[in-house]
């Protein structure tokens, strides 16, 4: 080894030592997704498991639907329909411990948050007694009230809601 090489080796050694001190960042190589196997109409089939795709082919799954989040009440389609939720409820905790929906939709908070309060019926027990808090049988809101997504219809649907049937909007 010549002197020049030895001299130039020092900074390299120092650099190697310094880089060894830092936390190691491991790059895991990721493969790009393989070419999609597009089968015409495959995403729209009512068969939810194979979507009409032959058993020896792997179809590209349809895009995930997005939750509608525009904060304006939708008209209901029939009388006594639980209104649908016009906003995203991602990560809202609705557990035995806490109910995120009632933060805004409880009668006492509704005005402050400009949220529609839950109806009085939600405070009644099945024996007709009025409770201070939401009745346990109404506690899990998403059993009846659901968000709406922009998912395409799987089959043609000719249902006409109250609004179009009678020509007037239901409250």
């Amino acid at each position: 080894m010549t002197a020049a090489v030895r001299r130039s080796a020092w900074p390299l050694l120092v650099a190697a030592l310094l880089s060894a001190c830092g936390s190691r960042h491991e790059e895991t190589p990721r493969r790009a997704p393989s070419e999609p196997v597009v089968i015409t109409g495959a995403g729209q089939q009512i068969d939810a498991i194979r979507r009409g795709v032959p058993i020896d082919r792997e179809a590209t799954p349809p895009l995930m639907a997005r939750v509608e989040n525009f904060d304006q009440r939708r008209p209901v389609n029939y009388e006594m329909q639980p209104p649908t939720i016009p906003h995203a409820i991602d990560n809202y905790q609705l557990t035995v411990n806490t109910n995120r929906c009632m933060l805004c939709h409880t009668a006492s908070n509704a005005a402050r948050f400009q949220a529609p309060p839950v109806s009085e019926a939600h405070y009644l027990t099945r024996d007709g007694a009025v409770l201070e808090q939401i009745s346990p049988r109404r506690y899990f809101c998403v059993q009846c009230h659901v968000v709406q997504t922009d998912a395409p219809q799987l089959v043609p649907n000719g249902f006409r809601g109250l609004e179009t049937a009678t020509g007037e909007t239901m409250k």
């Binding site: 411990n97 933060l103 908070n109 402050r112 949220a115």
Partner: protein, 208 residues
């Protein structure tokens, strides 16, 4: 009687300590002033740097989740939330929300955290059941801390002045403008349980 015994103990202690004390008080006989000042300076840098490096090491996610209490409970819960996984890939680690960034406040919090070492040694939350029983108390501490410092750790990243309200949903924009913007409320008033599951919230004020 007791006084005499105490004096005996003190005398023995002083006998042990005295040579060191005398050496410390007498001027340096062998080392130059330059060596002592420069050496002291360099040693100071090394100790201070070492102290801060060790302190930083206790601020990493790897350190926080090295015990099963954190790894299996709160860290596992964090993973499903927006502070761990989201569209842009910017994420928060434990210390971003739970340790003040300011040095003095950080020291105070770190000293408080020595209680957590005690808890670890004696297994205060060593099982899931113990943790759930204790969760309300622990959560209350964090809510009180964030309420007292006006949600400082939230605001380290989320600044009201930089919020584009037109990009928020209508109700979020309206609520932020009326309650956060006016200073009537702070982040933690509404955003409890955004990163971890909530304990039994009966009687805990949520919202405004």
């Amino acid at each position: 009687m007791i006084g005499a015994r105490l004096r005996g103990i003190w005398d023995r202690f002083w006998g042990w300590l005295k040579p060191f004390w005398t050496a410390l008080r007498s001027p340096s006989a062998y080392f130059s002033l330059g060596f002592l000042t420069l050496g002291g300076f360099i040693a100071g840098i090394i100790f201070w740097g070492g102290f801060n490096t060790a302190m930083e090491a206790t601020n990493t996610e790897q350190f926080c989740t090295s015990c099963h209490e954190m790894h299996d409970n709160v860290f596992a819960e964090l993973k499903t939330t927006i502070h761990y996984t989201n569209r842009s890939g910017v994420r928060a680690i434990c210390s971003d929300c739970h340790v003040p960034h300011d040095w003095t406040d950080k020291m105070a919090r770190k000293m408080q955290a020595s209680k957590e070492v005690w808890g670890k040694i004696f297994g205060t939350i060593s099982t899931r059941e113990k943790f759930l029983d204790k969760r309300l108390e622990l959560a209350k501490h964090e809510w009180a801390r964030l309420k007292a410092n006006d949600s400082l750790e939230c605001r380290n990243c989320h600044q009201f002045d930089s919020m584009d309200l037109t990009r928020q949903s209508r109700r979020a924009a309206w609520i932020h403008q009326n309650y956060l913007g006016t200073g009537k409320n702070t982040c933690i008033d509404c955003h409890k349980g955004i990163a971890h599951q909530l304990p039994d919230m009966t009687g805990i004020p949520q919202g405004l």
